[in-house]
Amino acid sequence: MKFRAKLVDAACLNNFTRVSNMIAKLAKTCTLRISPDKLNFILSDKVANGGENFFSEFQMEGVSAENNAIYLELTSENLSRALKTAQNARVLKIKLTNKHFPCLTVSIELLSVSSSSRVVTHDIPVKVIPRKLWKDLQEPTVPDADVSIYLPVLKTMKSIVEKMKNISNHLIIEANLNGELNLKIETELVCVTTHFKDLGNPPLASENASQDRSSEQMAEVHIDIRKLLQFLAGQQVNPTKATCNIVKNKIVHFDLLHEDVSLQYFIPALS
């Protein structure tokens, strides 16, 4: 099993660092899936991806020819901490090593004023996940959404959700095919609804489902507000594209695209 990758582009480095910070905010432990053409960060219930475009060099050799992938478990904070020192990096290299125990070694060569180079090396301990557990870590199948809608500016959404959290933990998200999205909190004493209009809807995958539904009809799902907040808190930069897919009373699926990185976030409905 082998893995090594190299990053030299400052912009890619920034993106990678940003993804890592986002992961660190979302979950304490994350799983890294290394495939021949991409790098996935997997958190339970959520999946984030990174592409090969980040890396100027990317070589990997999986467990075996049929199972050409590597699954590693690591503490997400370690990776984001390691990448923090990469802000002024000339080159960043990542590889799988074995130093008393399996590690992901991140080696950063810093830009230095003086003639001599400075190298920082971080050995992040990882746990190699055995093949029999891989099935638990596959990308979830996305059920056909009842409504698919573009999200408003995430920062706005976050500040609203933050305030709503003070009232109740039970949030209702509903949206329709007319570009309207509502966030609702209902308690005995008070009912708060925030309406977002003119958001726009992406073309739905399955046109059949949408036939039955008038564009005004709302599809709603009840979720735990803290999960939504956790997701929003990790977003520091506005994504290129952000879509929300609602499966009525089942699940809400957020699909974000930041340049090369796609993030899928699933929040199940409250039972």
Partner: protein, 408 residues
């Protein structure tokens, strides 16, 4: 020679404390007219100070770290020293009390115009008066106790290895390390590179922590007199205290060290003050049969060397470090390499030695069964209590001879 050595109890106060003194001094330098200075006054009935120098010293409870700052009279706007022939005055004050006087640096800078420190022996009080704006005067009476001289016996000149760099370089060097990290190993790697590496106790092998290593070229150092392969491990937190002070004052920091187990001396110096931190370093365990493996895994130095050459361009040549990882069915291949006990003593458990009152620093090591790893211990330092005060020897005193490593 002793001024007012104080047996400060808290080591966390270090950096805050010295920073404040320095800032006060700086303002004194820059704007003498504004006159934020320190006046040391001694009332007539006191025994006066021997030398015209104020020294502040402290040691931590486990005696593994010691700090001493000497202030030249010029640091102060006015300094009234003792008349020669009298016994030097020593007192000790609780660090907490003293720090509480200088609690907020920002407020101090804004409101305090003058600070006067005087010793009232009759009532056993150290009086600190802060003359603030708008006619406000704050007087703090801190009780002190007489104490014996707190004198660490150390001599930088005896240390074979010296490193000297601007504090900024060292500050950048410790930046990648997590703030909570307790110990760090400093050593010289191949190609005269200075290596800093996080040190982990091997106590709990189930909790695997991230290891960070920083490698800096020798060219960044003003002085580098050390052989390749030499390394010491010391408390990073203590070091950070002095480092932040040195960075704020834009000074160079010199590190004098010997081998593992011998104290390491960190020194800063400028025209007005002289600071020394002496820190204990981890000592080496006795060699064990299982330690005699492939050298690159045993000593810290070769470990450092493995990383010392930066893999600059040819990515493909990195093969050296990567191993096939045995998975799932971990049959005894490289994956199950025995966890080497680090070649440094496994841990930083200060061995509280009562030796501070004896000349021989008797590090009585508990006897162990040969072949077992040595108990966690630190070489406790260097303290002689020089009971006969008046004319303590000036100049270099021999480093206290410690018992050598053998434990039977």
């Amino acid at each position: 020679m002793e001024k007012i050595p104080a047996d400060w109890k808290e080591r966390e106060g270090f950096s805050r404390r010295w920073w404040k003194w320095r800032t006060l001094g700086q303002v004194c330098e820059q704007k003498p007219a504004r006159g934020l200075g320190l006046t040391l006054q001694v009332t007539a009935s006191l025994s006066l100070l021997f030398l015209a120098q104020l020294s502040l010293r402290t040691v931590n409870s486990s005696r593994s770290a010691y700090a001493c700052f000497l202030f030249a009279p010029l640091f102060f706007q006015q300094y009234q020293a003792a008349t020669p022939g009298q016994d030097p005055l020593r007192c000790k004050i609780l660090m907490k009390s003293f720090l509480s006087v200088f609690r907020s640096l920002a407020i101090l800078e804004k409101t305090v115009e003058k600070c006067c420190i005087s010793l009232n022996v009759r009532s056993s009080r150290l009086v600190v008066q802060l003359y603030c704006k708008y006619g406000v005067r704050k007087t703090h009476n801190l009780s002190f106790q007489d104490c014996e001289s707190l004198q660490a016996v150390f001599d930088p000149a005896v240390c074979p290895h010296v490193l000297c760099a601007p504090a900024r370089v060292l500050g950048e060097a410790v930046l990648p390390f997590p703030p909570a990290l307790a110990e760090v190993t400093l050593g010289i790697g191949r190609g005269h590179r200075i290596i800093l590496r996080s040190y982990q106790e091997e106590a709990d092998s189930t909790i695997k922590a991230m290891v960070t290593e920083m490698s800096i070229g020798g060219e960044d150092f003003q002085q580098l007199q050390a052989q390749e392969g030499v390394a010491i491990t010391f408390c990073l937190k203590e070091f950070r205290g002095l480092l932040s002070f040195a960075e704020s004052a834009n000074l160079s920091l010199s590190i004098y060290f010997d081998g593992p187990g011998r104290p390491a001396i960190f020194a800063i110096k400028d025209s007005l003050l002289d600071g020394h931190f002496v820190l204990a370093t981890l000592s080496e365990p006795d060699p064990h049969p299982q330690d005699l493996r492939a050298p690159e895994l045993q000593q810290p130095a070769p470990q450092l060397q493995a990383h010392s050459t930066p893999h600059l361009d040819d990515f493909a040549l990195d093969d050296i470090d990567s191993y096939m990882i045995a998975m799932e069915t971990t049959v005894g291949s490289e994956g199950s390499r025995t966890l080497p006990s680090t070649s440094l003593s496994p841990g930083f458990q200060p061995h509280c030695s009562p030796g501070s009152h004896s000349e021989e620093e008797d590090d009585t090591e508990p006897s162990t069964v040969p072949g077992t790893p040595p108990p966690k211990k630190f070489r406790s330092l260097f303290f002689g209590s020089i009971l006969a005060p008046a004319h303590s020897p000036q100049g270099p005193s021999p480093v206290l001879a410690e018992d050598s490593e053998g434990e039977g």
